[in-house]
Structures are given as structure tokens and as C-alpha cells.
């Protein structure tokens, strides 16, 4: 676990790189596999998680002196469930189509290990500033990881990246060139496992090399 006593800024950046919840800590794998079939889904899920994580860490940090051992987990869970419901209502109101595609995974944020883990490890022990920084860092790290996976899968799977917002704006990339050769399997379940496994492999390799070089 990277610096517990470093600056608040470091807490934030650690969440993105050194403690990236998806690629380093390997937490919250279920949504990672499920919603990375398109970049759009990944971004919306990322936004939802940033919201819930931040609010959860904020509230937990504010209540940290009142927490008793028996009820801690219950308090965390109740808080998270509430903010997830709010996030879900918001998504259904403003990005209805995407929220349908995300299916049960928005409410599943409630049991996403990332949020409970950060509440337990950081928010229940530190002040509001650090807790919020950590939440934002992990949330952004999660979003970046998911967007990367989503980009790979969508690009290889459909030959383009489409961000079809409800407002009608979309950005398409090179569809005609790739479409005949698209690997449809990438946007289906096996593709999810494959992409995540490959990316984690690459990340581990890079980290091992860095550790080697750092040790010299």
C-alpha cells in the first residue's frame, strides 16, 4: 500500500497509478468485464462509481468517530446503497439508453469491493480531505482502466468507437476500413476475459520491469 502519510495530492495520484483498483489491486472485476463492451458504457459506469465512491468516503469520514465495531459494515453498506440508488435514478433520468445497457451493474456497485475497501481502509481512519482525494483518485483510476479496456474491445469488436449520446452526438472512427474484419467476439463475454487478462499481463510485466530497474 503506497504512502499512508504522504500528501493529499499523492493520495489522489496513487489511486490512478500505483493503487489502480482495477489493474493493480484487482478489485471490482465484475463491472470491469461487463460494461467494457463499449467506451460509452465504460465512461458512464466510471462516472457513477466516482460519484458513489466520493459520497461514500465523504460520509464515512464524517461519521468515523461514531462507528462502532458491530455496525461498521452495516453503516458502510447502507450509505453505499443509498448513493447507488441516487446514481441509478440519475442515470435513468438523463442517459436512459445507456442505463438500460448497463443493466444490473449499476445497482451492483453496492457490492463493488472497491468502495467497501476504500471506506474501510481510508475513509474510516482519515479526515475528509484525504478520504475525498482517495475516492477521486481511485474513481478516476477505475474509469481510466475501464475506458482503456472498452476502447480495445469496441475498436476490435466493431471497427469503430461510437459515443452515441442521447443528444445525438457521436464520434465514429474508421468504420469502413475495419468492419469486414471486426472480431465480434471482443464485444462478447470471451472477449472481456481475454482483454482483461491480456492487459493485466502487460501491466504486471511493466511493473516487474520497473521494480527490477528500481532495485538496481
Amino acid at each position: 500500500m503506497a504512502s499512508e502519510n504522504g500528501s493529499i495530492l499523492k493520495q489522489f495520484t496513487d489511486g490512478i497509478v500505483a493503487n489502480n483498483p482495477t489493474l493493480v489491486l484487482l478489485l471490482g472485476m465484475c463491472p470491469t468485464l461487463a460494461v467494457t463492451n463499449t467506451v460509452e458504457n465504460a465512461l458512464v459506469m466510471g462516472a457513477a462509481v466516482i460519484f458513489v465512491l466520493t459520497m461514500s468516503n465523504l460520509v464515512t469520514s464524517l461519521l468515523r468517530h461514531l462507528l462502532q465495531p458491530h455496525v461498521r459494515i452495516l453503516v458502510f453498506t447502507l450509505t453505499i446503497a443509498t448513493f447507488v440508488t441516487i446514481a441509478d435514478l440519475t442515470l435513468r433520468a438523463y442517459v436512459f439508453e445507456v442505463s438500460k445497457k448497463l443493466g444490473p451493474f449499476v445497482p451492483l456497485i453496492i457490492v463493488n469491493c472497491i468502495i467497501i475497501a476504500r471506506a474501510e481502509v481510508v475513509a474510516s481512519r482519515h479526515g475528509v480531505g484525504r478520504s475525498v482525494a482517495d475516492a477521486l483518485g481511485c474513481g478516476v483510476g477505475f474509469t481510466l482502466a475501464l475506458t482503456l479496456l472498452g476502447a480495445i474491445r469496441e475498436l476490435l469488436g466493431t471497427g469503430g468507437i461510437t459515443l452515441l449520446r442521447e443528444s445525438g452526438w457521436h464520434w465514429h472512427l474508421d468504420p469502413k476500413v475495419f468492419e469486414p474484419h471486426a472480431w465480434v467476439v471482443m464485444i462478447m463475454p470471451p472477449g472481456a476475459f481475454l482483454t482483461l487478462g491480456a492487459v493485466i499481463g502487460v501491466v504486471n510485466h511493466v511493473r516487474a520491469r520497473r521494480a527490477e530497474r528500481g532495485g538496481k
Binding site: L67, Q68, H70, L78
Partner: protein
């Protein structure tokens, strides 16, 4: 009792606060959400029954899904929109079938929900494929063929490589029409 209160007052208090918060969020967002849900269906109806300006939900005897009377400008009946659901190759398929005012012929078809194989089965959601249903006789079963449909026959051509998905859609349509038309003609 006191021990119980001491240990759980926080949970109870939080529960109350959060429940109130949620109730507020619900009240705030519910109208938009309902609009969104209606919009998807309305767009589909607009596509399958051209000229629709307003719709009224009607109860049709013998058919338990949604049926809409579609009204054009000036209150004339532009047609009927029938919602139908069934199983496709992968999971469930939900579609809307448009019928002429006399319920004799099909004015359009739109698959609104499907999780068929991307690139193959999910071509059933495309305009070009669904357009085949336009003008077909709603009184006879529609048949799926692997070659272009013959003129004067109630036929559609399956999506290449997605025969099961195509057949599923047709079966859903046939079953729905069979069950809804008797009750519809009485309206």
C-alpha cells in the same frame, strides 16, 4: 433495550436520513424517467404506423400485452401498434408490429429489444430487414425463406447466417397476430 439503542442508534438515524434522501431523489427524477420509458415505445410506434400523431392504449380481449390505437391528424385511425415478446436465439426479443386500420395488413415492424449475436442476429433490428414485413398479409402466417421472397407470397428472407433469430421474430409476429386480431376486429 438501552444496549440495543446505544449500539444501533446510528444505523436507525442513518436509515431515516437516507430514506428521506431517496424519497426526494425519487420524486425529483420520476417524471423524467417515465418520459424516457414512454419515448422508446413511442418512437417505435411512430416508425411502424406512419402518420401517427397520438396513441391510446387499448385492452384487447385474449391478448395480454400492450396494444395501441394510433390516431393521425384529425382523429382518424391510422392503424394499430401491437407489442409482442418472445425468445430468440440468445434471449428475449421485444418488438412492435404495426397494423393497418382494418388489421388486415402489416404496416411495419420494429424490434425494440434484443440481445442476438452482434453483426449477425441483431440485424433483425435494422430498418432494411424489418421493411420486408411491410405490406404483408396479417391474416395468414408469414413464412421465412432463405431466398428472396416470392411476390404474392407471405414471405420474408432470413438474415444470412441468422436463420434462428429471423425465424424467432417471425414466429413472435405470427403468434401475436393470431391472438390479437380476433379481439382487435371487434373494436
Amino acid at each position: 433495550m438501552r444496549k440495543f439503542v446505544r449500539e444501533s442508534w446510528l444505523i436507525l438515524a442513518l436509515g431515516l436520513v437516507f430514506a428521506t434522501l431517496l424519497a426526494c431523489a425519487q420524486t425529483a427524477f420520476q417524471p423524467r424517467i417515465q418520459d424516457n420509458q414512454a419515448r422508446a415505445l413511442n418512437e417505435a410506434i411512430g416508425l411502424v404506423v406512419p402518420g401517427t400523431v397520438r396513441t391510446e392504449r387499448v385492452r384487447v380481449e385474449g391478448y395480454d400485452r400492450d396494444v395501441f390505437r394510433c390516431l393521425a391528424e384529425g382523429q382518424t385511425v391510422a392503424g394499430w401498434a401491437v407489442e409482442a415478446v418472445g425468445t430468440g436465439f440468445a434471449d428475449r426479443i421485444r418488438l412492435v408490429v404495426g397494423l393497418s386500420p382494418d388489421a388486415r395488413s402489416i404496416t411495419g415492424l420494429k424490434v425494440i429489444e434484443n440481445v442476438e449475436t452482434p453483426g449477425l442476429g441483431n440485424k433483425i433490428a435494422e430498418e432494411a430487414w424489418a421493411a420486408q414485413y411491410r405490406g404483408l398479409d396479417a391474416g395468414r402466417p408469414i413464412v421465412v425463406r432463405k431466398r428472396p421472397p416470392a411476390a404474392d407470397r407471405n414471405e420474408v428472407q432470413a438474415v444470412t447466417g441468422a436463420t434462428i433469430s429471423s425465424t424467432a421474430v417471425t414466429e413472435i409476429v405470427n403468434r401475436a397476430l393470431e391472438r390479437v386480431r380476433p379481439g382487435l376486429e371487434r373494436l
